[in-house]
Amino acid sequence: MRLVILEDYDLASEWAAKYIRNRIIQFKPSADRYFTLGLPTGSTPFGCYKKLIEFHKNGDLSFKYVKTFNMDEYVGLPRAHPESYHSYMWNNFFKHIDIDPANASILDGNITDLEAECEAFEKKITQAGGIDLFVGGIGPDGHIAFNEPGSSLVSRTRVKTLAKDTIVANARFFGNDLSKVPTMALTVGVGTVMDAREVMILITGAHKAFALYKAIEEGVNHMWTVSAFQQHPRTIFVCDEDATLELRVKTVKYFKGLMHVHNRLVDPVLSIKDQ
C-alpha cells in the first residue's frame, strides 16, 4: 500500500483531490471511454469534494466523461431528506460540476425489491467496464462503506443492518436522536470495492486512528473490513497526522520518508486546459 500522510485535514483533502484530478486527466476520458469513479459520503471526503469543485470551476477538470458509482445509501429514507446520500451528493458535488446525470449512479434505498436493486447495481458497474478508482472512507469500527464488522471480505452489493457504532456515529446528522437514524442500508460489498483497479481510502481525525491501526498494522480480519485492502494490488491511504496517532512510530517514519515519491503523483498537477 501507499500511506500518504499530510499535516492536516485540508492538506489531505487537497492531496486526494489532486490525485483524483490527475488520474482522470491522464486517462483522457472520452465518449467511447469513460473514467469510472467510486465515491463515498460523510464528513471525511467533504473537503476533497470542495477541492474537486474548485478545480472544475477553474476550468482545469471536467466530469463530462466520468461515470460515478456511490458506495451506499440508507434504506427507507426519503430521497429528498437532507441526510440521504442522494442529497449529500447533489448538494456537495453534482450540482456544482458538469457530470451527465445519466452517469451518476446511487443505490435506491426506497425501491420495493432491494435485492434486485443491488444486483442491478453490480451489473451496471460491470457494464461500465469496472471501476477505475474507488474512493472510500473508514468508519470508527474499521468498516468500508457499510460493511460492518463481520461482513464477508468477498461480499457483493447487498442490504446491511447497521451496527450500533455506526448508528451512534451518524446520530449527529439526525439531531442526535438515535431513533431517527435509519437502521439499514444498501452498500457495495468489500469484494465489489476490491474489484476496482485502484482504491483510495481517506482517513482523517484522531477518532479514526485506532481503526487505521487495525486496518494496516494488524492482520486481515472481517471485524475490521478495511483490512481487506492489504490484499489489493493498488491501494492508497491518505491521512492527516491525527489519524496516525495509533500507528507505530516506525510505520509513520517510513511512509513519511516516502513523501517525495508520493508527491510525484500530484506534482505536476494536470489540467484539461493543456490538452
Binding site: 442522494h86 450540482k95 458538469d98 446525470p101 445519466a102 446511487i106
Partner: protein
C-alpha cells in the same frame, strides 16, 4: 456552456439562473434557480428522476432574485383610476399592470375606494382574474389562475389535490376599500357614498357591489352594526376581510378578527390612534385574543409620508411577521405634479405628497413598491430578506396563495424580481419569462 434537456418527463425548455443569490427559507442563498413551464423546478429531482439539465442559462451577474412583489392596495396609476367606470376598464387595469412591472410588482389587487353602486357594478363585471405575462402583472385571485401555456386563452381548471398543485381555481380579484366605513375616518373617501349594514349585512353588500365574484378583499369598519355577520360570511367565502377607516376599539377589532378578519388597512392611517388603555385596531398587533393558528397582517404605506419612521419601527418590532408593504398608489402615481381625479374627487400632487385638493388630507401615495421596500428597509433597519418578504411572502400569506406566489419554493410560479444590493429593480420575470429589464 449549454447542455441539452433530457426530455423524459417534459419537452418544455429548462432555464437555469446562475450567478445569483435567491431568497429562500428567509435567507439570501447562493443557489441557482431553475424554471420550467413557468414554475420553479426542483433541480435535484430533475437530476435524479429525469436525468435532465438546463437548456439555457441566464447569468444574473451577482444580482438578488426575490419573488415578485405583490401589491394588495393600489388604486390606479399613470392616469388610470380603478374607481372610475371608463369605457375601457380592462385596458386601464392592463396599462397599470404593465407599468408596475418596472417596480418589481408581478401580482396585484386593483383597489376601489368608496364609490356609488353603479361604479362597482360596472368595474367588477369587467375586471377579471388573470395571470401575468409580457402584457403585465397578474391580477390576483384567492388562488392564482394557471394560464394555459400552449394557448393564449385563460382556462378555468380544476384543483388537483396532492403536494404538487398542478392547477388552481380562479377566484376573486379586487380589493374593495369601502363604502362600509366610518364617517369620522373617511379620509379621502367621498362622504355621500358611505354606507352602513342597514338591511342586515350581506344584502347591503350585494346591493352595493353587485357581485362578490371578482372580490378578493373588503375593507370595512367593524364597529358598524351588523358587521359581525358580514365578516363571518365574507371570511367563509374566502374573501379577506380587512379592518380600516374605522373608530373601532380593541374589543371590537378583536371580535372582528375572531369572526375572520385578517388584515388591517394602512395601519395608523384612518383609525383611532394608539392609546395605552385602549390601543384600538393598532392593538391587534400584540393582541392575545387572536386565534392561535392565525396571523393578523397589517398594511404599511412605507413612503416616508404616511407613517413616521418611529411609528413604522414600533409596528415592525411589535409584529414583524405581519407587516405587508402596500403602495396605496393613486391615479397620479407615475404622473407629473398637478391635479388629477381619484374616485369621485380631485386630488393635487405636491412633490412626493398627494392631497385632497384644497386640503391637507393625504389622498393616497404616489410611491412605487420598490421605493417602499427601500424606504422600509432603511427606516426600520431590517435585513434585506425581511424587507423583500414584506412585499412578497407576507402578502401571499395574507391571501393564502403561498403555494403559487410570494416564494421561490419548488412548484411556485416563477414570478421573479432581480435586484441589486440597493434594492433597485433590474429585471422582472413572470412565469419564467422576462417581462421587463432596466
Amino acid at each position: 456552456w449549454k447542455m441539452p434537456t433530457n426530455k423524459s418527463v417534459s419537452k418544455a425548455p429548462i432555464t437555469q439562473f446562475v450567478n445569483c443569490r435567491i431568497l429562500r427559507d428567509h435567507k439570501l442563498q447562493r443557489e441557482d434557480l431553475w424554471v420550467r413551464e413557468g414554475r420553479i423546478l426542483d433541480p435535484e429531482k430533475l437530476f435524479f428522476d429525469e436525468e435532465g439539465y438546463a437548456d439555457q442559462r441566464v447569468d444574473c451577474e451577482g444580482l438578488i432574485i426575490a419573488p415578485g412583489f405583490i401589491d394588495v392596495q393600489i388604486n390606479g396609476g399613470y392616469g388610470i383610476d380603478f374607481s372610475q367606470a371608463t369605457s375601457n376598464v380592462r385596458g386601464g387595469v392592463a396599462l397599470v399592470a404593465k407599468k408596475i412591472l418596472e417596480h418589481g410588482v408581478t401580482s396585484f389587487l386593483p383597489t376601489l375606494v368608496t364609490s356609488p353602486p353603479n361604479i362597482y357594478h360596472k368595474v367588477l363585471s369587467e375586471v377579471k382574474v388573470h395571470s401575468g405575462g409580457v402584457e403585465g402583472a397578474g391580477v390576483l385571485g384567492k388562488e392564482a389562475v394557471r394560464k394555459d401555456v400552449d394557448t393564449s386563452s385563460y382556462v378555468r381548471l380544476v384543483l388537483i389535490s396532492g403536494h404538487d398543485i398542478q392547477y388552481c381555481i380562479p377566484y376573486n380579484c379586487c380589493h374593495l376599500e369601502g363604502p362600509f366605513i366610518s364617517l369620522e375616518k373617511k379620509g379621502a373617501h367621498p362622504e355621500q357614498y358611505l354606507r352602513s349594514f342597514q338591511s342586515g349585512g350581506m344584502l347591503d353588500l350585494i346591493e352595493t357591489y353587485g357581485t362578490l365574484d371578482n372580490v378578493a378583499m373588503v375593507t370595512l369598519a367593524p364597529e358598524l352594526p351588523n358587521s359581525e355577520k358580514v365578516v363571518r360570511e365574507l371570511a367563509q367565502r374566502g374573501i379577506t376581510v380587512s379592518l380600516g377607516h374605522s373608530v373601532a376599539n380593541l374589543s371590537q377589532a378583536e371580535e372582528a378578527v375572531q369572526n375572520g378578519a385578517s388584515f388591517i388597512t394602512h395601519l395608523f392611517n384612518a383609525m383611532l390612534p394608539f392609546h395605552h388603555r385602549d390601543p384600538g385596531i393598532v392593538g391587534l398587533l400584540t393582541s392575545d385574543q387572536v386565534p392561535q393558528d392565525r396571523t393578523v397582517f397589517y398594511g404599511m404605506i412605507a413612503d416616508g409620508i404616511h407613517t413616521n419612521s418611529a411609528a413604522l419601527r414600533i409596528a415592525h418590532r411589535a409584529h414583524p411577521t405581519g407587516l405587508v408593504l402596500v403602495t396605496d398608489a393613486i391615479t397620479a402615481m407615475g404622473l407629473p405634479p398637478g391635479r388629477h381625479t381619484l374616485g369621485q374627487q380631485v386630488i393635487e400632487i405636491q412633490g412626493l405628497h398627494a392631497y385632497v385638493a384644497g386640503t391637507k388630507t393625504l389622498s393616497g401615495s404616489i410611491a412605487t413598491m420598490d421605493m417602499c421596500v427601500r424606504h422600509f428597509k432603511q427606516a426600520s433597519g431590517c435585513s434585506v430578506e425581511q424587507a423583500l418578504e414584506a412585499a412578497s411572502l407576507h402578502p401571499a400569506q395574507l391571501l393564502g396563495i403561498t403555494r403559487c406566489k410570494g416564494t421561490l419554493d419548488y412548484g411556485a410560479d416563477a414570478d421573479l424580481v432581480l435586484l441589486d444590493d440597493a434594492i433597485n429593480v433590474r429585471a422582472t420575470y413572470i412565469a419564467g419569462q422576462e417581462v421587463w429589464r432596466k
